[in-house]
C-alpha cells in the first residue's frame, strides 16, 4: 500500500499544491454537487485515506472540464487526482453498470457505445467517401470519432463534412472502419490499463498512415491525441481550423443567408484544453446574415455542458439545475436563436437541456457543420 500511495503523491505532484483555492473557485460543478477538488488534492496525500476518498460519490461528479487545471498557479491538474481515485474503483471492478458496459465495449468493439465494430462505417452509406490506405500519402486525414460515427443525431456533422470536402476538391481521406476509440472518456473514467493499451495500439495504427495532418472532428479526440499520444507522426488539428482556412481561401460558396442570432458555446475540450477559440467564431461570422453574440462566460471561462469526464455514462445524484440548463437559459436571455457548438457531446447535452426547458419552438442547438450543410452550396 505505501509504495502505491507514494506513487499517488508523486504522480499528481500533491506536494506542489499551495492550497490557494483557485481550482475550487473555478470548478463549475460546485454549484450543483458536493465536489471540492481542493480538499481531494489536500487529503489524497494521506495514504491511509485513499480508499475512503475513492468511495466518495462526488469523485464521479467531475466533468473533466479542466478549469481547475487551467487556473492552478502551480501547474497541477487537480482533476487527475479524482481520476486516480476513480481508477482504484475501476480496478476493483465495482463501477456503475453503464460505466462497465462502456469500458467493455471499448475493449471489445473499439467504441464506448456498445455498437458492433463492423457497423462503424455505416454512416458513409450513400456518400462518396474517400478511404485512406496505409502508406498512401494524403493531405487531410480524418478521424471520425465513435460518437459521430454511431449517434444518428450527430452523424450530420460528418455527412455534411464529406459533402463539403468533395465539393471543394481538397485532398482528403477518412480512416477505414478499423479505426478505434481515442480513449478520451476511458482516461477520465479512470481505466488506466485500457487507456495505456489504446495509446499503444492506436499510435501503431494511426502511424501506418501518412498525412500532412490528421483532422479530428470531436474536440475530445483532438485534445486526447495532442495531450496523451506523444508518438503520433502526423500533426493533429481540429476540423474548424481546416474550414476556417477554406473560407479564407474563398473555397466555400454560400447559397443564401442565415439571418439568425447565433451564440457560440466553447466546448471545454476545444477551448480551454485545445486553445481553439477564434476559428469557430470566424466561421460563424463569415456566414452571410449571421449575427454572432457572446455568452458572458466564454472562451477559457466557458461554462461546461457536463458531457465530458465520462459523464455520458454517470448519472449525477444532484437534483439541482444542470449546467446545460443554465447554459441554455443564458442563451435564451441573449435572444439567441441558435446555440452553435463544435463538439458531439455538447450537441447532445445542450439539445437535451433545450428540449427539457421547452424552448424547441424558438431555439435550436446545432453543430457548426450542420449549419454549413444548410448554407454552403454543396
Amino acid at each position: 500500500m505505501s509504495t502505491e500511495s507514494q506513487t499517488f503523491t508523486e504522480k499528481y505532484d500533491l506536494l506542489g499544491c499551495i492550497q490557494c483555492g483557485r481550482c475550487t473557485g473555478g470548478c463549475p460543478v460546485t454549484v450543483r454537487a458536493d465536489l471540492n477538488v481542493r480538499q481531494f488534492v489536500n487529503d489524497a496525500y494521506d495514504e491511509e485515506k485513499l480508499d475512503e476518498l475513492a468511495r466518495l460519490a462526488e469523485i464521479w461528479d467531475c466533468t473533466a472540464c479542466h478549469t481547475c487545471a487551467v487556473r492552478c498557479p502551480k501547474g497541477l491538474k487537480p482533476l487527475e487526482v479524482l481520476i486516480g481515485l476513480r481508477s482504484m474503483i475501476v480496478e476493483s471492478g465495482k463501477v456503475e453498470p453503464t460505466v462497465r458496459d462502456a469500458l467493455q465495449s471499448v475493449l471489445l468493439e473499439g467504441n464506448p457505445w456498445e455498437k458492433a465494430r463492423a457497423t462503424r462505417s455505416d454512416w458513409m452509406e450513400g456518400l462518396d467517401v474517400k478511404i485512406a490506405e496505409p502508406g498512401v500519402a494524403v493531405e487531410n486525414l480524418f478521424f471520425v470519432c465513435c460518437t459521430n460515427a454511431y449517434d444518428p443525431r450527430v452523424q450530420t456533422t460528418v455527412k455534411n463534412l464529406v459533402k463539403l470536402l468533395n465539393k471543394t476538391g481538397i485532398d482528403y481521406a477518412f480512416f477505414p472502419d478499423d479505426e478505434s476509440c481515442c480513449g478520451s472518456e476511458v482516461f477520465t473514467l479512470g481505466e488506466e490499463g485500457l487507456f495505456e493499451m489504446l495509446v499503444e495500439d492506436n499510435t501503431e495504427y494511426l502511424n501506418e498512415f501518412t498525412a500532412e495532418r490528421m483532422v479530428t472532428i470531436s474536440p475530445h479526440c483532438f485534445t486526447t491525441y495532442r495531450t496523451h499520444y506523444p508518438d503520433l507522426k502526423n500533426p493533429v488539428i481540429h476540423y474548424t481550423q481546416l474550414i476556417d482556412e477554406l473560407i479564407a481561401e474563398g473555397k466555400l460558396a454560400w447559397k443564401g443567408e442565415l439571418s439568425k442570432k447565433i451564440v457560440y458555446h466553447d466546448p471545454c475540450y476545444l477551448g480551454k484544453q485545445g486553445g481553439i477559440f477564434d476559428e469557430p467564431r470566424r466561421i460563424l461570422k463569415s456566414i452571410p446574415g449571421v449575427e454572432l453574440v457572446e455568452f458572458e462566460r466564454r472562451r477559457e471561462r466557458s461554462l461546461c455542458c457536463e458531457g465530458g469526464g465520462g459523464k455520458m455514462w454517470v448519472e449525477s445524484e444532484s437534483k439541482k439545475e444542470r449546467l446545460a440548463d443554465t447554459r441554455i437559459k443564458d442563451a435564451k436571455a441573449l435572444g439567441a436563436e441558435i446555440v452553435a457548438v463544435a463538439c458531439p457531446f455538447c450537441v447532445l447535452t445542450l439539445e437535451d437541456a433545450m428540449k427539457n426547458l421547452g424552448y424547441e419552438e424558438e431555439m435550436r442547438v446545432a453543430e457548426i457543420m450542420e449549419l454549413l450543410g444548410e448554407i454552403v452550396d454543396l
Binding site: E91, S92, V95, R100, Q104, K115, T119
Partner: protein, 262 residues
C-alpha cells in the same frame, strides 16, 4: 465450494440487422458484436461472490470458438480460477440437449458442489441447457434463481416464477442452478485484471480429449432439425377505432366476430 460456471459467447442482435444466410438455416453474424450471454454474466458474478464469501474454486466451462477466449479471460479477471473451452465442429450446438451432454461430459468425474448456468441464452432462448445438464449429471436443480444462500451441505434457492411469485427451495448439494439476470450486479473486468488472468489455466479440448462419443452429441443424435429460418413479415394493418366508448365497443366486437376471433 467447488463451482463450475457454464458460459456462452453470443451475438448481440439488437443493433445490426439480422439476415438469414442463403442456406436458409443459419444467420449471417458478420456484422454482430459478440459478448458473454447476459444471464451467464450474472452466473459468473454469483460464483465469484460465493467464492469470496466461502472460499473454494470456480472453473469456467464454455463451448465456443477461439474468439471467445477474451470472454473467458474476463471471467477469470473477475475471480474465476481456471477454464475449459470445448471446441469441436461435430457438436450439434443448435440443440440444447446436445450442448448439455457435452457440458456434462466435461464436468463429470470431477468433484463439484455447484454448477451455474445462465437461465437462458440470448441467441436461441431455449432455457433448457441448465436443466438438461442437471439431468445428465444426475443431480438436483433449480431454475430461474434470483437469490442463493449456501447452507450446510445444502443450498437455498429463490426461484422467480410466473406472475412475479418467488418460490424458495432447498436442494441437497451438489446441484445445478440456472441464474436469472438481476440476481447481482456483475462487476467490470479491468484490463490489468485480464492481463493477469493470462497466467491462469485455460485448457482447450475437443470431444476426443474429453472422452465424449461424437455420435452421442452430433446431428445424428439430435432430434432438432433446423429446417428453415426466416424474418417474420411485419404486418402493418392497424386500425384506430374512433367514437364514444359504446360505439367503439360495438365496432370492435363486430371486427372480432367478422375475423372469426370470438
Amino acid at each position: 465450494m467447488k463451482t463450475f460456471v457454464c458460459i456462452k459467447y453470443v451475438p448481440d442482435t439488437s443493433e445490426a440487422e439480422v439476415k438469414v444466410n442463403p442456406d436458409g438455416v443459419t444467420v449471417d453474424s458478420s456484422r454482430f458484436s459478440f459478448d458473454i450471454n447476459d444471464a451467464d454474466n450474472y452466473a459468473v458474478e454469483e460464483s465469484v461472490l460465493i467464492k469470496e464469501d466461502k472460499g473454494g474454486e470456480v472453473t469456467v466451462v464454455s463451448i465456443g470458438p477461439k474468439q471467445s477466449d477474451v470472454m473467458i479471460r474476463m471471467a477469470m479477471a473477475k475471480g474465476c480460477d481456471k477454464a475449459l473451452r470445448v471446441e469441436d465442429e461435430r457438436i450439434a450446438d443448435h440443440d440444447p440437449l446436445m450442448v448439455a451432454r457435452v457440458l456434462a461430459g466435461a464436468i463429470k468425474g470431477q468433484e463439484f458442489d455447484l454448477v451455474f448456468t445462465g437461465c437462458w441464452a440470448d441467441d436461441d432462448g431455449h432455457m433448457s441447457t441448465g436443466v438438461a445438464l442437471a439431468e445428465y449429471l444426475g443431480v438436483n436443480h433449480a431454475s430461474m434463481v434470483k437469490k442463493v444462500e449456501i447452507l450446510d451441505g445444502k443450498v437455498k434457492a429463490h426461484r422467480e416464477l410466473e406472475g412475479g411469485l418467488m418460490e424458495v427451495v432447498e436442494l441437497e448439494l451438489p446441484a445445478v442452478l440456472t441464474i436469472q439476470t438481476g440476481i447481482n450486479e456483475p462487476r467490470y473486468a479491468p484490463i490489468r485484471g485480464i492481463r493477469q488472468a493470462q497466467k491462469k489455466e485455460l485448457n482447450v479440448a475437443g470431444l476426443d480429449d474429453l472422452g465424449i462419443d461424437p455420435a452421442e452429441v452430433g446431428s445424428d443424435a439430435s432430434q432438432v432439425i433446423v429446417e428453415n429460418l426466416y424474418i417474420p413479415e411485419v404486418e402493418s394493418t392497424a386500425e384506430f377505432i374512433e367514437g364514444e366508448p359504446e360505439e367503439k365497443a360495438e365496432k370492435l366486437a363486430s371486427i372480432l366476430v367478422k375475423g372469426g376471433l370470438v
